[in-house]
Symmetry: C2
Subunit: 230 residues, 2 copies
């Protein structure tokens, strides 16, 4: 197995990356195909798919041991599930699978497959690209009672005056960053266990470091306290 390409996403660290694809649809990214896999012939017909399967390597955690059970954040860390019943990255083989919305191919210095909604960390090695085949991949009546629907989202985050001003400035030069930040925070990047409610978290999104904290219960929204260039 060798990488055929590299995924480029706004998520510079595991912390803050969405836990499933499509959770942050405003996240734009691309897969750069390495030669010889960037051959235009190898991509012929791919434009006839709305979505791509991306099979990749959990490279940041591949040296860590797998665990038979994991505590998915979806359940607040309160439920132990078998690793094969989850999409956890701490698996026997560090293989990730994400279905991404596909937006076409560009070729300048390199061949890029443009996608939205990625959940992988920037720099992830890609092992394979496959087309979505609805009749085989989305059979009628398939269900998963552990994940019956999209995870619940937090309300929109609030911003301190300084953070709001910084965001306005960034958004003016980088349209779409606001939507991406809001989607990322509404998905609640905090670890399942919040032992310290007063903690300020730092998240690295594109070229910015975002600081945020919990607001006081019962307000469940997060508050962004600072946005700074990295």
């Amino acid at each position: 197995m060798r990488p055929i390409g590299t995924a480029h996403t706004p998520f510079k660290e595991k912390f803050g990356a969405p836990r499933q694809p499509g959770i942050a649809p405003s996240a734009r990214g691309w897969i750069t195909l390495h030669p010889p896999y960037d051959d235009a012939n190898a991509l012929r017909g791919l434009d006839q798919c709305s979505h791509l399967w991306v099979i990749y390597c959990f490279h940041r955690t591949m040296d860590q041991p797998w665990s038979p059970t994991v505590r998915p954040p979806r359940f607040g860390g309160n439920q132990r599930l078998g690793v094969f019943a989850t999409r956890s990255m701490f698996r026997p083989n560090p293989i990730g699978l994400s279905l991404l919305r596909f937006h076409g191919i560009t070729r300048k210095e390199e061949c890029r497959l443009h996608v939205t909604g990625p959940d992988m960390v920037d720099g992830t090695p890609v092992l394979d690209i496959k087309p979505y085949v609805p009749y085989a991949d989305a059979p009628g009546g398939a269900w998963n009672t552990l994940a019956p629907g999209t995870p619940e989202l937090l309300p929109e985050p609030s911003f301190t005056t300084e953070a709001a001003e910084a965001l306005d400035e960034i958004e003016a030069a980088n349209p779409g960053f606001r939507a991406l930040l809001i989607e990322t925070l509404r998905a609640d990047p905090r670890p399942a266990y919040h032992d310290d409610p007063a903690r300020t978290y730092g998240m690295h999104l594109h070229h910015w470091n975002i600081q945020f904290r919990s607001t006081n219960p019962p307000d469940t929204r997060l508050e962004v306290t600072a946005i700074e260039g990295v």
Copy 2:
């Protein structure tokens, strides 16, 4: 990467194995998990899914070179598509992906995950098992105009008198074999190019060798001429 298990299916050879999962829903199979991956804890919660993603190795063809373009049988071998726009096994990394209906776990001498609709060859090494997560894996409005629906099926095959008698006998001892054979033949296992319409094909299904041939046009059905134990 090392196998976590082995897929057991009725398809003893590549020829005759369905070209996508679910095409032969009467095909029953199982994945035997190897120690230590057969730990009951690692499977906790899997019974809450109707379908499993199975990621596996195309072990029969992994030593063959990949090809930038392939001619999928769906188009009668008349259309060249990029390998990344197809599920062809001649890929840069020999990784297969199939969504299979899941029917539970048994543990006697070994741990088995029971499935129906497999399209992999018997003995395929399995690299990972993941749960189906409908909201991430089946987004609304996803499409593929190259494979807009299930492939067209041939009419039910006909049987010579000898083959029909052999099938009756096998079915009595192995209920479901008839349905599996009919589904397999209706999916048309013949290669895309039929240079010799008079050719008799042999297919190895479970413990039987099935011989069949084309009928005369315009009758598109296949005719089974012999069924013999292997």
